[in-house]
Symmetry: C2
Subunit: 416 residues, 2 copies
């Protein structure tokens, strides 16, 4: 079974919007074991959409068309699909009623052109859910005989609407058509401590073993901002069985990589993990930042309900703020001693049991004789400080991001 | 003239990497007045690459193939292009010598497979610059007669290498082939103060006028993080003439929109604009953040050489930090009075002449009876405070981003 993706929208071709939808859909298809050999962007133009979608139907078993289902006149995916099916657009009264009620519920009048979204090609199936104001469409196509083996799905281009329809409707339907009776699940381990190549080396044996057995796969995804992700995907005949495989593989993988480097599972961020550990131990947390200029604090504050643990921070960008507010002795500031006193000072001034602190040279210029990329990171836990110094061969932005993640990870290791 | 883009790489189809290259190329083509009707992703597979690139040649005047020029065996763009041209791969000695010297200069030994990158289809032209270790290729294709009217460009998939080759080599060559003797330039006005629809309304007359005269175009790009961008693109026979048009249009557009809403030109950020204004006036700047939890400070610290103006900040996430450190009177903290005292307190504690301060309810839960999205923003300039309160119908993240940009913009207005 293979399925290709057609993303519709002139704004995608003009580069005004990056097409992230087809990447996301490609990822879901790969997880489900469905091949995707082509992904195409095409503008809001009848003839070109007709040609591109027709070709997609010809060379693939299924097609997902994303976009062009809005209420305005340049949204013509419905018209193109009807033409490809050789049929007419008809009003679907169930959809029309739902669209009307969406507007009524919000106490707003429905613009007349929104009813365009209730037009569907005769013979198509409409998704049972309407996340926004447009339903998804499933259009049988291909052989002109009664039984059609191919389908085109149409989903809106608004990412969250597309995701709801793909996850709850298109993917299960595709799996059924593909005769995939197995359940497929993924688990992502978020790690920090190994490099991408280091991780690949440590897991080479596991990857080879899984390649042979075929009951799970491993993929890597690196990011200076979120850490290195290891995604395990497995198939089995039941949800319980697949969970068992994932549990077993997670256990094996954790033993192959640097101990304690997994900080979160399935979207749990470093900042959420650190806040959770503090909460469990009854600790409170503050920050003292020079190098990272507030990035660590901003990450902690981005977590909803951080406020029971995260008390605040001091951005001591200027040396005199370090001296006057954090009790750092006057002198050079790029040193682990400075970072340590910043952490202790922040605990005292802001009233907390734990602190992270960063100082160093983000670049582009050297400072106090230290090259750009020199970072000094410290953590304080109930009066005891630890620190490290490193030289990072990165850009200014990457130095700041890497230090943010690392100093939080250092604290995490101490709290475990 | 039209040009389509083929992005090569199985990792793109699998969604492991989002294809931002073809969006970026699409934007450059649009600026140059070259149409791009199709953009396709295809995996590292000979037959499918051959089919996709051949079709692209058939329906377009030019094709840019992006990716598949690396040194490993799954990088087969060279082989596919040679097959399409009906020719052989030959070693280009100039390129081979350059690749060797790149490794020698870095004191590293060249892995043997890097010489693959010196293989080029016989009859193709090689780019004069090699930003990484692979040159760009320009392959005449199409009619089998001596004079070929169509070309395929191949550039590496590494974004910065691709950009250098596109800007310095492909775009000028394409313009020449398209007979575009005119110079095309863009200017982007970064604005904050009008909504996207408000801006579109205010500029409707200008857009209509330019649609008619055809000597410039206007495009919008909205972002809660960077503000609303208005891009003017113009063509003329010389660089001076096009600059004159851009100057004239910028002048007209500035008069159509909210006075003072333009905070930067061509990539100048809000934070850089504010720091520059402070610097010019001899002011120093600090932050006091609750709602935004360090995001304003992090933005200011992301600007290289911010340190002469930006002294630091206090993230007063917990109420007691506001009371103890910033001198806010004990009591409710979601108020403009609190924001004002935070700004004044930060100036005093951190020693600066200007401050911005944020408090409010990022959400998801209400606080002190105020709904999520309630924001109180204050600015202090040499002892005088001003403030505002608003209710934003946004998500937590957007509330924080919007407030960050707005409080900096408020200070900017006061400093002008």
């Amino acid at each position: 079974m293979n399925c290709e993706v057609v993303a519709v929208g002139t704004e995608l071709l003009l580069g005004q919007i990056v097409d992230t939808n087809s990447s996301w859909i490609g990822e879901r298809l790969a997880e489900a074991g469905i091949d995707s050999f082509h992904q195409t962007k095409v503008g809001d133009n009848f003839d070109r959409m007709f040609a591109v979608i027709s070709q997609a139907i010809e060379r693939s078993d299924a097609v997902v068309v994303c976009g062009g289902l809005g209420p305005t006149h340049d949204d013509i995916t419905r018209e193109v699909l009807a033409a490809i099916m050789g049929t007419e657009l008809v009003i679907n009264e169930v959809v029309a009623e739902r669209i009307r009620s969406i507007f009524t519920d919000r106490g707003r009048e429905m613009p007349g052109n929104n009813l365009r979204q209730a037009l569907v090609p005769a013979g198509s199936h409409v998704s049972p859910m309407i996340p926004g104001t447009a339903p998804g469409l499933c259009c049988p196509v291909g052989e002109s005989s009664g039984e059609s083996s191919k389908v085109v799905y149409a989903v809106p281009g608004v990412p969250w609407e597309m995701k709801v329809l793909m996850e709850q409707w298109v993917m299960p339907d595709l799996a059924e058509r593909a005769g995939i009776t197995q359940v497929i699940k993924s688990r992502t381990l978020h790690t920090w401590g190994d490099s991408e190549s280091g991780l690949a080396e440590k897991l080479a044996g596991d990857i080879a073993r899984l390649d042979e057995s075929g009951h799970a796969t491993i993929a890597f995804l690196a990011s200076v901002q979120d850490g290195l992700k290891v995604r395990i995907t497995a198939k089995a005949s039941s949800s319980e069985a697949v969970s068992q495989i994932l549990d077993a593989e997670e256990h094996i993988i954790r033993q192959s990589i640097t101990p304690g480097s997994v900080f979160g599972i399935d979207g749990e961020t470093m900042e959420a993990a650190v806040l959770k550990l503090c909460r469990q131990r009854g600790d409170t947390l503050v920050t003292a930042e020079s190098l990272t200029g507030g990035m660590v604090a901003a990450k902690l504050a981005s977590v909803p309900e951080a406020s029971d643990v995260f008390k605040g921070g001091i951005v001591s960008y200027a040396p005199e703020v370090k001296f006057n507010l954090l009790g750092v002795p006057e002198g050079p500031v790029v040193s682990v001693a400075t970072a340590e006193q910043m952490a202790l000072g922040a605990c005292e001034v802001l009233g907390a049991t734990c602190a992270v602190a960063t100082t160093g040279v983000a670049g582009p210029d050297p400072l106090e004789g230290h090259p750009p990329g020199t970072v000094c990171l410290a953590t304080a836990v109930r009066g005891k400080v630890e620190s490290m110094q490193a030289e990072l061969p990165f850009s200014r932005e990457q130095v700041q991001q890497f230090s943010t993640l690392t100093v939080l990870n250092n604290l995490r290791h101490r709290l475990i």
